[in-house]
């Protein structure tokens, strides 16, 4: 596989760029924020995205998707990152559908993946319990009771929880917190008795809910895969999700950088445009170099998903660590180089800073993935 986009992916990228630039821009995000919209996205725009096939890009054709693979989804996510586009692309398409595809039974895949691809349903992953990403730290419990499971516990950072029709929920049916053994996944409808959802706005004006499960009773066929053995498929899900968020961070970083370059080419101080000062030029050129590296690892990692590369975890952690680092640099330099106006709400650069931080933390931040990269490297 060569590290260039094929014709199909290139066309997808261009059509995504065009659509998002008119229908799901930073300006739209701002309006949603200011109106206090509970969903934090526009359903009509989401429907158009679905009509263009985006919800099914990475879903295999056998389950009603387009089968374009994750490299295809990645180029769309990159463009969504550029525009800070608000939609369930991440929650339901990147994470939810991937979780079902990796973890689900044949019946679950047949039913749910087609419904997601058609835009009829949204599914979100309910994994995290504490403030820090710790996928094996799960304590929510799942206990067998006859031909049902009874699930209790708390979940946080559930993306687009309010609009989700169902959750892929990770609970522990064995083992103790910190162990990969004993983790089980369940498909739980959002309206299940005993399940309550508390919406929460994040700093980036997107919505991440908390779930509370009080002895939620689900039938045995809600179990995804086999009991206690969810880890390998869950790990793959998380690797893919980390790579998808890296693609989004790439788009965000490139856009923040380009806006900043435009600004320093125009803004004058001491009678000169500030972009002529070597103090800024060298930092800008360094950031450019980091962005070029970022482009490469994101593409490499996306292709690693589609080619079933055995080293997927290594590429996932490399991509997420690198992109978290680069996005931090790009967003910080963006605000700094904008000077005082960078601190105002009126300028968009601050929204890039906010979104960067949220995306950095989703599915493991820089420190988590750098540590994992080292562990995979054997040291």
């Amino acid at each position: 596989m060569t590290l260039v986009l094929n014709e199909e992916q290139q066309m997808l990228k261009e059509s995504a760029a065009g659509f998002l630039a008119s229908k799901a821009t930073v300006g739209h995000l701002r309006k949603l924020r200011d109106s206090g919209d509970e969903l934090a996205f526009e359903p009509a725009v989401w429907k158009e995205m679905v009509d263009m096939g985006w919800a099914g890009i990475a879903i295999p054709e056998a389950y009603g998707g387009l089968g374009y693979g994750y490299t295809g989804l990645g180029v769309v996510l990159e463009q969504a990152g550029r525009h800070l586009s608000a939609s369930p692309l991440e929650a339901s398409v990147l994470v939810g559908a991937t979780a079902i595809n990796c973890l689900g039974t044949e019946e679950q895949k047949t039913h749910w993946l087609a419904a997601i691809a058609a835009g009829e349903k949204q599914v979100s992953l309910a994994l995290q319990e504490s403030g820090a990403f710790d996928p094996v730290g799960v304590t929510a419990s799942a206990t067998r009771d006859g031909d049902a499971f009874v699930i209790s516990g708390e979940k946080r950072m559930v993306l687009d929880a309010v609009s989700a029709d169902a959750f892929v929920l990770i609970a522990r049916s064995g083992g103790v917190a910190g162990e990969t053994r004993g983790l089980s996944a369940f498909l739980i409808p959002a309206d299940a008795a005993g399940l309550s959802i508390t919406p929460c706005d994040m700093v980036d004006s997107r919505q991440c809910g908390a779930l509370s499960l009080n002895a939620v009773r689900v039938p045995a066929d809600a179990l995804m895969g086999s009991e206690g053995d969810a880890w390998p498929a869950l790990e793959r899900t998380l690797d893919i999700a980390a790579i998808g968020f890296s693609a989004q961070l790439l788009g965000l970083s490139l856009e923040a950088f380009e806006r900043t370059m435009d600004y320093i080419r125009e803004r004058k101080q001491f009678g000169q445009v500030i972009g002529s000062f070597q103090g800024l030029q060298h930092r800008a050129a360094h950031l450019f170099a980091e962005l070029e590296l970022a482009r490469s690892i994101v593409l490499k990692a996306l292709q690693a998903i589609d080619s079933d590369d055995q080293g997927l975890s290594r590429y996932a952690s490399a991509a997420k660590a690198k992109l978290s680092e680069v996005a931090r640099l790009a967003s910080n330099e963006g605000v700094q180089m904008h000077g005082g106006v960078g601190m105002t709400d009126e300028y968009d650069i601050g929204l890039y800073l906010k979104r960067a931080r949220v995306l950095e933390h989703l599915m493991g931040d820089y420190y988590y993935h750098l540590d994992r990269f080292a562990r995979i490297g054997g040291y």
Partner: protein, 393 residues
């Protein structure tokens, strides 16, 4: 079987039969690389033999045209040859500035006669070249060079001084930037000339470096002679050729950033020990190593991407302008980490147990990477102005 499969099989068989065992060992450092020339430095007796065998097939420079001594191989065949050589751990038979720098410039700017005269001896390792660029007053500001070449009808007389002339004391010929005209701007009036180092009027003095070695020289010209037919391109066109050649030099230097061999992390683990969870005991050093290894992986992916983009006909994109900067900074980081992992023992300078100070000498040498071939600051200026379009102050 496809043509490329056949090529692979024949290559494999030929390499198996012709690559001496001693040429299947990894090189231990700069000193261990074969550069050819009239007075070759031979560390292992089979080096000239291996070079000669490969040169007969044009495989010392497999991608150059056959008529100039190259192998005339396609990009795909070159890749196969490299893979097959890597498979048995075969060394490159010949490395030289003739191959990495002068050759590409001659192929682009040289006359047919110049190509036929100079390229085949480069491929066979018969003539070793050095580069006469920098002068005491013209480092990063290279166009300020003052070495003069005065037109004497059929030849030029050259007077002046060069510095940082790598391996001038071992080279047979020099490709040299000289001033043939002083009347215009400093970028005009520079010419690119080739001449023999073995003549009266050329004096070479090695410069001892902080690493203890002397790869660089001061080179003095006192009425040295260059034949007119060895002026490359037009008189005054030298700056264009020099810039083209510098991009090749930068690519070569940036290659230092891609390391092979054992992972630094694992070496550190073996040397410094693990904690209860099997991680490198010193968590701060572990983080620095992980950052470095991460950047090395990502840099490698970038080299791969740019290579694939070129193959896909997209041209050398702006990414290539970062290679010199990033590659050398990575190499410096790796050398710093090698010292940290090696501890005091790595600071040994001589004596059996210190492997002749290899770690610390490499560390010291690496400091030059971000100075030679255009400093890191010069590279950042180039990116800022030419890629990002930021204005001059």
């Amino acid at each position: 079987m496809t043509e490329i499969d056949t090529f692979r099989q024949e290559t494999r068989e030929w390499l198996d039969a012709n690559c001496p065992d001693s040429m299947r060992q990894p090189v231990s450092g700069f000193e261990d690389i074969y550069n050819g020339g009239r007075k070759p430095e031979i560390d292992i007796p089979e080096q000239p033999l291996w070079c000669e065998r490969m040169a007969e097939r044009g495989w010392t420079v497999p991608h150059w045209p056959k008529e100039y001594g190259g192998g005339g191989l396609s990009a795909e065949e070159v890749k196969v040859l490299k893979e097959e050589m890597a498979r048995i751990g075969a060394r490159r038979p010949l490395d030289s500035f003739g191959i990495s720098m002068l050759g590409p410039a001659l192929l682009k700017f040289g006359s047919e006669e110049q190509k036929r005269e100079h390229l085949p001896p480069i491929c066979r390792g018969e003539i070793r070249w050095c580069q006469g660029y920098s002068e005491p007053g013209a480092g990063s500001d290279l166009a300020s060079l003052q070495t003069r070449a005065d037109d004497q009808g059929d030849h030029y007389l050259i007077n002046g001084q060069k510095v940082w002339t790598s391996y001038a004391d071992k080279a047979d010929w020099i490709f040299c930037l000289v001033r043939t005209d002083n009347s215009g701007s400093k970028h005009e009036g520079i010419s690119f000339m080739l001449f023999d180092m073995d003549q009266p009027g050329v004096t070479v003095k090695p410069i001892r470096l902080i690493s203890g070695s002397s790869p660089f020289c001061e080179t003095f010209f006192d009425d040295a002679r260059a034949e007119k037919r060895n002026l490359v391109g037009e008189a005054g066109q030298g700056w264009t050729i020099a810039k083209y050649l510098l991009t090749h030099e930068r690519e070569m230097i940036s290659g230092f950033g891609t390391s092979g061999g054992k992972s630094l992390g694992k070496t550190a683990l073996e040397t410094l020990g693990a904690d209860a969870e099997g991680r490198l005991r010193n968590g701060i050093l572990r983080q620095d190593i992980a950052q470095h290894q991460l950047d090395t992986l990502v840099f490698g992916a970038t080299m791969e991407r740019v290579g694939d983009e070129v193959k896909a006909g997209q041209g050398l994109g702006p990414a290539s302008s970062i290679f010199k900067y990033y590659g050398t900074e990575l190499n410096k980081r790796r050398n710093e980490l090698n010292l940290a992992v090696g501890g005091e023992a790595a600071l040994g300078w001589s004596g059996e147990q210190y492997h002749e100070g290899e770690t610390v000498r490499s560390f010291l040498r690496s400091k030059g990477n971000s100075i030679e071939g255009g400093t890191s600051e010069v590279q950042l200026n180039i990116v800022a102005k030419r890629v990002l379009g930021l204005p001059d102050a």
